[in-house]
Amino acid sequence: MGETKKVEFEYSQIDSERMRLNVGPQHPSTHGVLRLEVELDGEIVTEVIPHIGYLHRCFEKHCEKMTYPQVIPYIDRMDYICAMNNEWPYVMGIEKLMGIEVPEKVEYIRVIFAELNRIANHQIAIATFGLDAGAFTPFLYLFRDREFILSIFEKASGGRLLYNYYWVGGLAADVHKEFKEDVLSIVKQVRETNKEIADLLLYNKIFIERVANVGILPADVAISYGCSGPVARGSGLAFDLRKDAPYSIYDRFDFDVVTGHGEVGTVGDCFDRNIVRFHEMEQSCRIIEQAIEQMPMDGDVREKLPKKIRPPKGEIYTKAENPKGELGFYIVSNGTDKPERIKSRGTSFVNLSVLPEISKGYLFADLIMILGSVDIVLGEVDR
């Protein structure tokens, strides 16, 4: 332990054949329809070429044909695991362009739902990461908890996975009466399961041996590749838009930015990226508890909804801290009810581009772990 796991043989001594291997697009560990063209020297990865676009659904073309509220369902389908977080930067941008002040209650509900969805996303990320490593039980436990979170979303918005809930100037519907108790019970449940997951998966010796010192991403490389979210924070970089460029009401809450510090191996390895996700769930729980305490229950969530959404001519780049990192929307408005252009900066798209850099020199089996630790969603990579 402690020393890097990179395999450094004298290549010339071993008479091995270079081999090209095709992983995907139908492969259980590529988290969707990603195709990796891998060049192997024996069992050591020498080159990885990701081929993406197998889920290119023409999001930006659709935006030009839709009115502003009609774009929101398509944004849901970009990063379908955390749809609530996705909608937020978009509606925030249009609210900024139109100069709409959102009511207090709406802001609190938005924060609570965004953090709940962050927990749900990290649960999937850790569950599938465990699945890649061969651990099936954490998958069952984490998905059980996720269903409880989804039931809250369904009670509020009516949708289980894709919500169309954050509307410009407010929300699609009000929350139900027992909202506060429901959320608090979920927070309690999440904390209980987290304790178990730490023992069951994350601090399991076999699991640590598999992920520590694998896929090391130094901080300067992470910045140069534009990584954000847990991938950047795992490299020890305290880069969190909720703290750095506080949007909405995040400056009212007390929470820490979790960074990786090489607990069992080197800073920036697969274990660090995952432990950051794990501890972020606890921070989200803290934010939710504070928000529930401060949130007013009376008031209308739809009073500020504009009848016609027609932002003035202009352009804006809005970003928000998604579970996976910085999600940005570059909205260009031409004064009509349809946007001129919306360019989305997909978080996973940028995070995935670092994969060829960090997977060179490791064993082929480690490549799957590295890919799992980056936590991509192909809907957002291809858009």
């Binding site: 697009p25 139908q26 259980p28 969707g32 329809v33 676009g53 197998y54 889920l55 290119h56 659904r57 023409c58 073309k61 659709h62 044909k65 369902p73 398509y74 389908r77 379908y80 695991i81 999937i124 998958f139 069952l140 436990y141 998905f143 059980r144 996720r146 269903e147 289980r160 996975l161 894709l162 192909l378 809907g379």
Partner: protein, 180 residues
Amino acid sequence: MGLLNKLDDPYYGGGIILGKVEDILNWGRSKSDWYLQFGLACCAIEFMAVNASHFDFMRFGCIPRTSPRQADFIIISGTVTFKMAERIKVLYEQMAEPKYVISMGSCSNCGGPYWEHGYHVLKGVDRIIPVDVYIPGCPPRPEALEEGMIRLQEKINKQAIFNKRKRLAEEEKQELIIDN
């Protein structure tokens, strides 16, 4: 299902089942369908949820297989793009007969939200492979997928194995009568 019901029937009592060989074969097929583990888009997340503790797809005798050679049916769960369509066709062709297809969600039914302006989206997976059951929803609830599975089992139970032509001709005749 059909056979086991006969056990409760007083006429057939005594633990003896009388039935056609076809029924037994179909019963076996419909109760142990193995599916190809294969996710495309948003629906794949609900598909994962179906496999998890809350819905437990294995109650239906469905076990995930990672190889198309071992799979009985394939669930097209998500948007099929042109880049992916050729691969799906290959996967389908690699599956052993008899094989079935469930189209899950609007996108694979007919392109869904992307049917109008999606220049890179295949408008319905039935343009490349035959589909047995269409499940509407975007994404469908996990229970809706289970309901689709039950519909598929019903379809398999009615399937003709012997005297296919005769059976088909009879069915056509009946349909004609109904139509008229």
